[in-house]
């Protein structure tokens, strides 16, 4: 304010009025009223106790309200209590009593001394209060900053980082904040979901900065429609624009805007410093690399699947043509050779499909497309798929005729059931029976596959659905990857069902049961309407 001397008087007056106005904030009224009550209480106390104690320097009793007001509510209530104390002591305690005037020079000196002491203690107390307040705010900000750095450290995408910055500035300033990513690799701010909430003028200012037509504005912008003020601030790192922030201050007076603006700028400076420290550009890059690596993995799996499946499809197709050719079809030895090629290729093709499924489950999870399905369709599709591999066994499907429809991903459940039946056929001796029971139990449909194989020990029963688990009793005798039942369980769970394995013990067969959700008609209606 060193240029204040040159300011004309009218401007001074306006400033003084503004200052008083800003001090006479409505929030002061409560504390002032309480301060005056304390002054009144002290007056009453002194009035009663005065004659008993023969108080000469009654004015100093009023230091109590002054200190209380200064420590608790700040300067204004302290000044008010000081003035009230001065008036009260002059009126009640210094002769002439019940008269505001004071004649005795000693009393006048007393009152002057009171004013000096009141001002000094008031100021000291106020300063202590400000310190406490600042320390508390600092602590809050440190907490926010710490939280902010932690969020930045675990951010897994550029969007996470931007959200963290936005939330941080919003927490520090208490204002609504919208952050628009800037820089070459980012989509324009119009693409942001927050864009439509911005007033037209603010949108123009953001676009100017985004397209490099302006460097950002210092002064707040006013939205004429709502009367709300907005601040536009840029966020940059190593001289590169990282983001543009629009901060809604609401409809507040110019003084409050200045205060909030200082707070916003401080918060932004802190945020920028933190960003520099963790190197946000690098972090954004890392996040992008992570997501690209995931995409690459998917692409690799896709291409490997294509590369492996195409030759297998050629082999299988060729054998199917060969087996029809007259020279082969009529020669039992030749056609049995073709059958070997076909069966082994089919097995290989299944193994590759299992690997692909397993990798799909662990990388992306399984997306289930739930639809109403006839349970017997699932069983029949699985049996049709496995037809040739079940030739050595006696298959006994026992499907109840009036099963309720299930709401599942039929394709996933069929694959799961195929795995389970295939497993049963692999582990139980040729000539034995594999029974497939489908029945309704409460609001579920159970499909149970029971074999007459080696059964399950207690240990096998608990570990059956684990990835790569293979029963130690069969590892040498039966080929397999240990993926089948793990995949089956993932597919069934994705459809909202679950799997269960039971056995009467080693050597006494095993039953694997798929439980599928079959909502009742009332639930059906609810589901249908929720789908709409």
């Amino acid at each position: 304010m060193d240029n204040a001397i040159h300011v004309p008087t009218a401007q001074w007056r306006r400033r003084a009025v503004e200052l008083v106005r800003s001090k006479w904030d409505a929030t002061h009224l409560g504390p002032i009223a309480v301060s005056l009550l304390i002054v009144a209480a002290v007056t009453a106390l002194l009035f009663v106790a005065g004659p008993l104690l023969d108080l000469d320097h009654a004015a100093f009793g009023y230091l109590i309200p002054v200190i209380i007001a200064a420590t608790r509510w700040g300067a204004t209530p302290a000044i008010v209590s000081g003035l009230a104390g001065l008036a009260a002591s002059a009126f009640f305690f210094y002769p002439p009593i019940y008269d505001i005037r004071v004649y005795n020079p000693a009393h006048v000196a007393d009152l002057i001394l009171f004013v000096v002491v009141a001002v000094v203690t008031g100021q000291l107390a106020n300063k202590v209060r400000e310190h406490v307040k600042a320390a508390r705010q600092r602590e809050e900000e440190m907490k926010a900053l710490y939280f902010f750095s932690r969020r930045l450290a675990v951010a897994s995408s550029p969007a996470d980082i931007h959200a963290a910055i936005q939330d941080h500035v919003s927490a520090i300033t208490g204002c609504r904040v919208a952050l628009f990513a800037a820089g070459m690799a980012h989509s324009p701010p119009e693409a942001s979901p927050q864009w439509s909430h911005m007033p037209g003028e603010i949108q123009r200012a953001i676009l100017d900065i985004f397209h490099g037509r302006s460097n950002g504005r210092e002064a707040p912008l006013l939205d004429r429609k709502t009367g709300a003020s907005w601040l536009i601030r840029t966020l940059s790192q190593r001289n590169a624009l990282v983001g543009i922030q629009a901060i809604e201050l609401g409809s507040v007076s110019r003084q409050s805007i200045d205060a909030i603006r200082r707070r916003v700028d401080t918060a932004l400076a802190e945020a920028t410093a933190t960003l520099e420290r963790i190197d946000v550009a690098h972090a954004i890059g890392e996040a992008r690399v992570r997501s690209e690596a995931e995409t690459l993995r998917e692409a690799l799996i896709g291409s490997v699947s294509h590369e492996l499946r195409t030759p297998l499809a050629s082999i299988l197709g060729s054998t199917s043509v060969l087996s029809q050719a007259s020279g082969v079809a009529q020669d039992a030895r030749l056609s049995s050779l073709v059958d070997v090629i076909r069966d082994e290729t089919e097995r290989l093709s299944n193994d590759i499909q299992n690997l692909l499924d397993a990798s799909r489950i662990s990388s992306a999870g399984v997306q289930a497309h739930l639809a109403w399905t006839e349970p017997s369709d699932i069983v029949n599709a699985a049996l049709a798929r496995l037809q040739r591999r079940l030739e050595a066994h006696h298959i006994d499907p026992r499907l109840a005729g009036d099963l309720p429809l299930v709401r599942v991903d039929a394709v996933l459940v069929e694959q799961a059931l195929s795995q389970i039946i295939d497993n049963a056929a692999k582990y139980s001796p040729p000539g034995t029976t594999i029974a497939i029971d489908a029945r309704a139990v409460d609001a579920t449909v159970e499909i149970a596959v029971t074999d007459e194989g080696p059964g399950l020990t207690a240990d096998e029963q608990t570990r059956l659905f684990q990835r790569f688990y293979r029963g130690p009793r069969h590892q040498a005798a039966v080929k397999g990857s240990g993926l089948g039942l793990w995949i089956a369980r993932a597919f069934v769970v994705a459809s909202g069902g679950h799997l269960e394995a039971t056995s009467k013990g080693a050597g006494r067969g095993a039953t694997v049961t798929i439980h599928l959700p079959a909502p009742t008609p009332a639930q059906v209606d609810a589901l249908e309407s929720s789908d709409a």
């Binding site: 299988l316 029949n380 499907l399 059906v524």
Partner: protein
């Protein structure tokens, strides 16, 4: 009656797949044309009339859907798609765009030939003249609107008959759930999949020997239904 040899156009980028398809079709007295890319395939189809198109879903230059769409814009030639497992949505999309059927890789020649023959039968000239569709023990007379099992007429409700009629019109080929819902219940009911399940069950109880193990009205999980003309 000996018809002139049918021409099949195979569009697949894999030379080994084309080779076995050529062998398989030539064994059945088809004339085989090959194309390695989608663009080449569409050119071949426009230059010379073909009777059947086999198209791979994954071509390097063109999406399978695009080929089906472009062929369908001027031709009613039967189209069979070679697809991979776990792409039910893609299959449904191609069928909705006008493909007649699909087989899933790896597939046997017999399966592909069965699908192809069914599609060819529907497109063949004179097909309109024979309104009787036979599937196992089932006979559907589309002209007289009668249905019989083992020679004995059976009664169907109007919706049941409509459902069977649509399937019989595509006998041997898959019909998508959406197509059936639209044809039987109208486009407003295209989301009411459970109606379809319930009517299929009713229909099976009337036409199948064992409704829990259907041989005639079979299910393509996640895609649709098929009236299996080569079924038992």
């Amino acid at each position: 009656m000996r018809r002139p040899a049918l021409v099949v156009l195979v569009i697949d980028d894999e030379v080994r797949i084309r080779r076995f398809l050529r062998a398989g079709f030539e064994l059945e007295a088809f004339i085989v044309q090959e194309a390695a890319t989608g663009a080449e395939g569409i050119r071949a189809a426009t230059l010379k009339p073909v009777d059947l198109v086999i198209v791979d879903l994954e071509l390097p230059d063109m999406d399978g859907a695009e080929i089906v769409e472009r062929l369908r814009s001027w031709s009613k030639v039967p189209i069979i798609v070679l697809s991979v497992r776990a792409s039910e949505e893609e299959k449904v999309r191609l069928l909705e765009l006008g493909a007649d059927d699909y087989v899933v890789k790896p597939f046997g020649m017999a399966e592909l030939l069965a699908r192809a023959r069914a599609a060819l039968r529907r497109q063949a000239p004179g097909h309109q003249a024979d309104p009787v569709v036979r599937a196992g023990s089932l006979t559907v007379d589309l002209a007289a609107r009668t249905v019989s099992v083992d020679g004995r007429p059976i009664g169907l409700s109007p919706k049941e008959y409509r459902l069977l009629q649509v399937l019989a019109q595509h006998a041997g080929n898959v019909v998508t759930h959406l197509h059936l819902l639209r044809e039987v219940w109208g486009s407003a009911h295209s989301d009411d999949a459970h109606y379809l399940r319930i009517f299929v069950r009713k229909l099976r109880q009337k036409i199948e020997k064992d409704p829990t193990q259907p041989r005639i009205l079979t299910t393509e999980l996640g895609v649709g239904y098929r009236l299996s003309i080569d079924g038992g």
